[in-house]
Symmetry: C2
Subunit: 167 residues, 2 copies
Amino acid sequence: MEFKEAKNKFVQTWGALGSQWGINKTMAQIHALLMVSNEAVSMEDIMDELQISRGNASMNLRALMDWGIVYKEYKAGERREFFTAEKDLDELAVKISRERSKREIKPALKILKEVSTIEVKDSAEEKHFVDQTSKLYDFVLKADNMLDKMTEFNENWLGKLVMKIMK
Amino acid sequence: MEFKEAKNKFVQTWGALGSQWGINKTMAQIHALLMVSNEAVSMEDIMDELQISRGNASMNLRALMDWGIVYKEYKAGERREFFTAEKDLDELAVKISRERSKREIKPALKILKEVSTIEVKDSAEEKHFVDQTSKLYDFVLKADNMLDKMTEFNENWLGKLVMKIMK
DNA sequence: TTAAACTTTCAAAAATAATTGAAAGTTATT
DNA sequence: AATAACTTTCAATTATTTTTGAAAGTTTAA
C-alpha cells in the first residue's frame, strides 16, 4: 500500500467510525485528515481532499473547534486561515471525554435523579422503577466520576492506569 | 411528578441518549422500557407503550437480543413471547463494551495496523503519517485491553475499580 | 472608501436512516 | 390438514440528518 492510499483509507475509516459514535462523517474525516497532517491545512485544501463544499467544511471545522480538538492557525503573510488538530492522544481523549460528559452524561444524570426520586405508591411496579433508576443513577455517576479521575493523571494517563490496574 | 410521567421521561431520555451513541432511538427506548419493567413485556405491549409498528418492534428487539442485553421469555400457557432486559448494570456494561469492541474497535485496529505499517519514503509528511497512526494504534489497543481488564473483575467491577484508582 | 480575499450562514436539495404495514413465514391447536 | 395466533421480513414511505452553494458577512490592503 502506498502513502496516498493509506491516508485515504485512514480518513475513510475514521469517518465511518465517527458515524457509529454519533459524530458526523465529515467532522470525523476532517479531524482524521488534520491528525495525520504534519502541517496546518487550509480550508481550500480540506475541501479539495475530502471533496466537500465550502459550507460543509466551515461548519464542521467550527464544530471541531467547539469541541476543542482543532485549532485555527494564522501564518505570517497569509490571509487565509489554517487548521491543525490536537495531536497528543492523551489530551485528545481527555477533551473528548470532558465534552461528552458535559453534553450527554451530566444532563442524563439530572433526569435520572428527577425520575428516581418520585414519590411512589406501594406497588411492585413503581417500586421497581425507583429501584432500577436509582441504581442507574449511582452507576452512571460513579462511571462519570471515574472517567474524570482517570484522565486527571493527564500526562500518559492511559499508560499509568494500565499499570495501576494490572498490579 | 407521578409514576407514568417519570417512566415516560426516562424512556424518552434514554432514547435520545441512544441516538447520540449510534444506537437508534427505538432500540434504546425499548431497552429503557424493559429495564424498568418488573416483569416480562409482550411485543403487543411494547408497540402500544411506544406507539410503534409491529415491524419496528420486531426488528429492534432482534437487534437488542443480538447485543445480548434483552432476552426472550416464554410464559406457561401463553402462546406469545415476552421480553426482559438485562437488569444487572455491571453485566449490562460488560456486554455493551464487549460488543462495541468486537464490532467497532477490533476492525478499526486492523485498519490502523495496516496503514501504520506501510513503507514510506524519506518525506516528513509520510513519516508523520506513520508516526501518528502508530501512536493511535498503540493507544487504541491499550484502551481496548484496559476495558477488557476492567470488566473482567465482573461482579461490582466499577466499584472495585474506583477503589483501586483512588488509592 | 473600495475592492479583493476570504469565511460564515442558512434555506433548499440530497443523502441516509428509521418506520410502516401487509404479505410471507412459523408454530401450536383443533 | 386446516386454522388460528403469533412473528418476521422487506419494499415502499416517511422522517431525520447532512450537504450544498450562493448570498451575506468580515477582514485586510491599496
